[in-house]
């Protein structure tokens, strides 16, 4: 540990591992450490032993769950949206070669007490009970408008300005009912609350396009998922980093962030040893998250909480056509909340659990002092629950951009259903660290084959 590094990265969550990989490829000398003896930090996937050690240290896993190593239980529920930025990074870095993906079989939305499939074909749309006949006609006009939108051709704009007009105005223009608005804003644009309605329609437009192009890519649902769980993602980027000379140390307690006399980053102390580097990047848990501000230095602030219930089932979720994997969105209006409730379910098809086990995670942004009650509408949809593990995780954001003290802190994993905000964070930290934008293009060597 006596060498000097360009960058020390703390925590092997996905955000940190992507950054570590990208910076190593850029030629930085990276030391990557984690206090845990497994990869992935908050975004790890754990086998049964690790999982029980984390949630129920006094209980060993019940034998009827099957073999320990068949499990890779995600701690945060997310899917990969097929046409999103994470896929671009995977392709750009060629990390794809370490991974295999399967589709998520279906995407469902809750309305009036029951769940229906988000249509993935016109035939499904025509049959969908989500809208009445006339409303379907109006929705069709709306989708034709989105599809036909050409930036440079005002004839396709129908008098609307995506940068000025609110989404509310667009909905009104097409005469869409509140139920349809819920569907579009929450099941397609994947907004977690209704704040978007009063904002310019542009970003809603972009999110619907992301959803529908992702849907068009593989059919069934807009999502894909890596075999063996989401924890494969940080591991594959860690491997990229290591190939480009990154040094990995797991199971390493981090005792102190050492500062120089100007208050800038100098090194990291683990036990008796201190390693020095020009800068540090790390997840909030290494910078006092959840602890009293030490010596008056507050580096991260809490920005809400997410409640997540990891549920083990012995059957697929009722009403989902026996799908081996699904997303279910419960729009907030349907259950009188401010934030949507999400359910993400995967199973042995994705090699994350034993046969006949289904792992469903119900989550939402906490609004009250009884978070577990808030996810009841989601738990209720699962049928009988074999076992349930509930966590309430604060979401931390850094207070400073790191340019002063060379301490760059990443964000906690939020409640969104995919990794696009994680990638935004990666782009943002990369830019601050490198002083230039991250450019994603497919590497020459990969195009050959």
């Amino acid at each position: 540990m006596d060498e000097e590094y360009d960058v020390i990265v703390l925590g092997t969550g996905l955000t940190e591992c992507i950054l570590s990989g990208l910076l190593s490829v850029e030629g930085k000398k990276v030391l990557h450490m984690d206090r845990n003896d497994y990869y992935g930090g908050e975004s790890a996937s754990l086998n049964l032993t690790q999982f029980f050690r984390k949630f129920r240290p006094n209980q060993s896993p019940p034998t009827d769950l099957g073999r320990d190593r068949d499990y890779a239980v995600d701690l945060i529920p997310k899917f990969i949206i097929a046409s999103g930025e994470l896929v671009k990074i995977l392709v750009h870095t060629d990390v794809l070669r370490y991974l295999e993906f399967k589709q998520i079989a279906g995407s469902f939305v809750y309305k009036n007490g029951k769940i229906s499939k988000v249509p993935s074909t016109e035939v499904e749309a025509a049959r969908s009970p989500l809208m009445g006949l006339f409303e379907k006609y109006r929705a069709k006009k709306f989708f034709e408008f989105l599809q036909g939108w050409k930036e440079e051709d005002p004839a396709t704009h129908q008098g609307l300005n995506l940068d000025k007009d609110s989404m509310r105005k667009v909905y009104q223009h097409f005469g869409l009912e509140p139920g349809t608005q819920d569907f579009i804003g929450h099941a397609l644009a994947l907004y977690l609350d209704d704040d978007y309605i009063n904002k310019p329609a542009r970003s809603t437009y972009e999110r619907i396009v992301l959803y529908t192009t992702s849907m068009a890519r593989w059919g069934k649902s807009p999502y894909i998922y890596p075999l063996y769980g989401l924890g494969e993602l940080p591991q594959s980027f860690a491997r990229l980093s290591a190939i480009y000379g990154g040094t990995y140390m797991l199971d390493k307690p981090i005792d102190e962030i050492v500062l120089n006399k100007d208050g800038s980053f100098e090194g990291v102390r683990s036990g008796e040893e201190t390693v020095r580097a020009k800068m540090v990047i790390g997840d909030p848990s290494y910078f006092g998250a959840g602890k009293e501000a030490e010596g008056g230095k507050l580096r991260v602030v809490e920005d809400g909480k997410v409640v997540r219930a990891i549920c083990l089932l012995k059957h697929p979720i009722p009403g989902t056509e026996e799908s081996d994997s699904v997303q279910i969105i419960i729009p907030q209006n349907q259950v009188n909340r401010r934030n949507d409730i999400y359910i993400a379910m995967v199973s042995s098809t994705h090699k994350v659990c034993a046969d006949n086990i289904y792992v469903a995670i119900v989550s939402t942004i906490v609004e009250t002092s009884a978070p577990e009650n808030e996810i009841q509408p989601g738990l209720h949809l699962l049928g009988s629950i074999y076992d349930k593990f509930v966590t309430v995780s604060p979401i931390y954001t850094p207070v400073a951009d790191g340019k002063q003290d060379h301490i760059y802190i990443t964000r906690s994993y939020d409640a969104t259903s995919h990794f696009e905000t994680v990638v935004e964070d990666v782009f943002d930290v990369f830019k601050r660290v490198m002083g230039k934008d991250l450019e994603l293009k497919k590497r020459e060597s990969d195009v050959e084959q």
């Binding site: 097929a82 529908t212 075999l227 797991l250």
Partner: protein
């Protein structure tokens, strides 16, 4: 028609025993006296053709140095069909380290994994610390393939990969990386992200 099989092969062993050099010799028939530890290419493929014209394609995973501080990712071992565990015949300690890796593989990996123990740097036999008898006896007891190699001269390198190819179960063509174990009743293909998006035109609305 000749059959093609694909297998994942992992390399293990102490730092500087010559893992990357062995791969470089096997795949590119090159050697570099002043190699830095593994940079840039830790994923190579090489095909071996057996006498009956069966071809065995190795998808070779080098450790990329993650083993140095015992931080190998589980992804590395996952679905490995074969492992080459390397020691340096001029360093007794490197054989002890190799034995630790072998125990780890026997505990964690698929029971059908083919393990080869490889004593490298045979060109330096003047400085030998590990005898042939000692290593081969251990390999016999543990049911491992064993041989000595020199990545520098190339001696024994192809032979050890050929021996592995012959010992692998060439029954059903497996594709490496897990596809083997597709559960019955699931017909869904894995998705190939390198494939170009479908020709539906950029913003096709398909919901």
């Amino acid at each position: 028609m000749s059959k093609q099989f694909q297998f994942k092969l992992v390399l293990l062993g102490e730092s500087a025993v010559g893992k990357s050099s062995l791969v470089l010799r096997f795949v590119k028939d090159q050697f570099d006296d002043y190699r830095e530890s593994t940079i840039g290419a830790a994923f190579l493929t090489q095909t071996v053709t057996l006498e009956d014209q069966t071809t065995v394609k190795f998808e070779i995973w080098d450790t990329a140095g993650q083993e140095r501080y015992k931080s190998l990712a589980p992804m590395y071992y996952r679905n490995a069909n074969c492992a080459v565990v390397v020691y340096d015949i001029t360093q007794t300690a490197s054989l002890e380290k190799a034995k630790t890796w072998i125990r780890e593989l026997q505990r964690q990996a698929d029971p059908s994994i083919v393990i080869a123990l490889c004593g490298n740097k045979l060109d330096l036999s003047a400085r030998r610390q590990v005898t042939e008898e000692e290593a081969s006896k251990y390999a016999d007891e543990e049911g491992l393939l064993w041989s000595e190699t020199s990545a520098k001269t190339g001696e024994g390198v192809n032979a050890i990969f050929n021996a592995i190819a012959k010992k692998l179960p060439l029954t059903a063509p497996p594709s490496a990386r897990g596809a083997r174990a597709a559960a019955p009743g699931t017909t869904r293909q894995n998705v190939d992200l390198n494939r170009q998006p479908t020709a539906r035109g950029g913003e096709a609305c398909n919901c």
